[in-house]
Symmetry: C2
Subunit: 140 residues, 2 copies
C-alpha cells in the first residue's frame, strides 16, 4: 500500500481550498460515510453544508496513524459555528474541538469514512462561556 | 515496538471483568486522558463512574489500527445508560454507539488516551425512539 499521508494531505488541502470540483481526485464515487452510501455527490453536499454551518471551517491535521489501507486522522478545528452544531447552540461563539476520523483507501482514493467529533469538549466550552447552556455534558 | 493488539485485548478484557485491581498491568501510573493528567487512580475512578452510569457497559473491539507506539481502536457499545450520558437524557433506554480512542503505549502500558464518542448517533436514536428530545443533533 502506498504511503497514505501525502494522499491525505492533498485531500485536506482540497477541503481547505473549498475546491469541491477536485474532490473526486481524493474521494471515490462510491464513498461511504458513517455507514451510509452517500457517494461522491452526497459527500460533497455534506461538506458544502458544513462550510455553510461553519463559515471559517478549517481542517488542521494534528496526528495520523496508518496501517495497511487505513489512515486515522486526529483533526483540530478552531472556528465559529453559526447556529446549532452537533445539537449544541453554538450561535457564532468561538470553539476549539477535535475530530477523529477513520478513512479506508482503495488505491489512491478514500472509500469509507467514519467520523467522531468530540462533542463534550464543545459543550464544556459553551458551559464555561455562558453558564448553564448544557448540563452534565462531560463524563466524569 | 511489540504488537500492541494482544496488550490491548488484555486491557479490554480487564475492563469487561471490572478487574480494577489489575488495571495497572495495562495502564501506566502517569496516564493522561483527553489532555488531563489523571494518573492511574483517576483513570480507575473514571471507569468506575462509567460502570455506575452504565451498569451493562461492555467494551467490544470492532477495529484496531496500529503504527509504532500508537493503537487506535473503534469500540462498539450496546447498553442502557441509566441517566444523562454525554449530555443526553438517555434514562435507561437502549442505545448502540461507537467510540474511537487513540492510545499511546510506553513499553507495554497505556500512557495517553484520547477518546471520541459518537454522540450524534446516540442523539439520533433517542430522537427516533421518543420524538423531539434532541433537535438538530446530526450534521447533514
Amino acid at each position: 500500500m502506498a504511503d497514505l499521508n501525502p494522499l491525505y494531505r492533498n485531500y485536506i488541502a482540497c477541503l481547505n481550498r473549498r475546491d469541491w470540483d477536485a474532490l473526486g481526485v481524493s474521494v471515490a464515487t462510491d464513498v461511504r460515510h458513517n455507514g451510509r452510501d452517500v457517494g461522491l455527490s452526497g459527500y460533497r453536499h455534506m461538506l458544502e453544508c458544513d462550510v455553510i454551518d461553519i463559515p471559517d471551517l478549517r481542517f488542521q491535521i494534528e496526528q495520523t496513524v496508518c496501517e495497511g489501507d487505513i489512515l486515522v486522522a486526529r483533526l483540530r478545528f478552531d472556528c465559529h459555528p453559526a447556529g446549532t452544531f452537533v445539537g449544541l447552540p453554538v450561535n457564532g461563539r468561538h470553539v476549539i474541538f477535535e475530530e477523529c476520523a477513520i478513512y479506508r483507501f482503495r488505491n489512491t482514493k478514500i472509500v469509507d469514512v467514519r467520523s467522531f467529533i468530540d462533542v463534550p469538549a464543545i459543550a464544556t466550552q459553551l458551559q464555561s462561556n455562558s453558564g448553564a447552556i448544557v448540563r452534565n455534558a462531560v463524563r466524569p
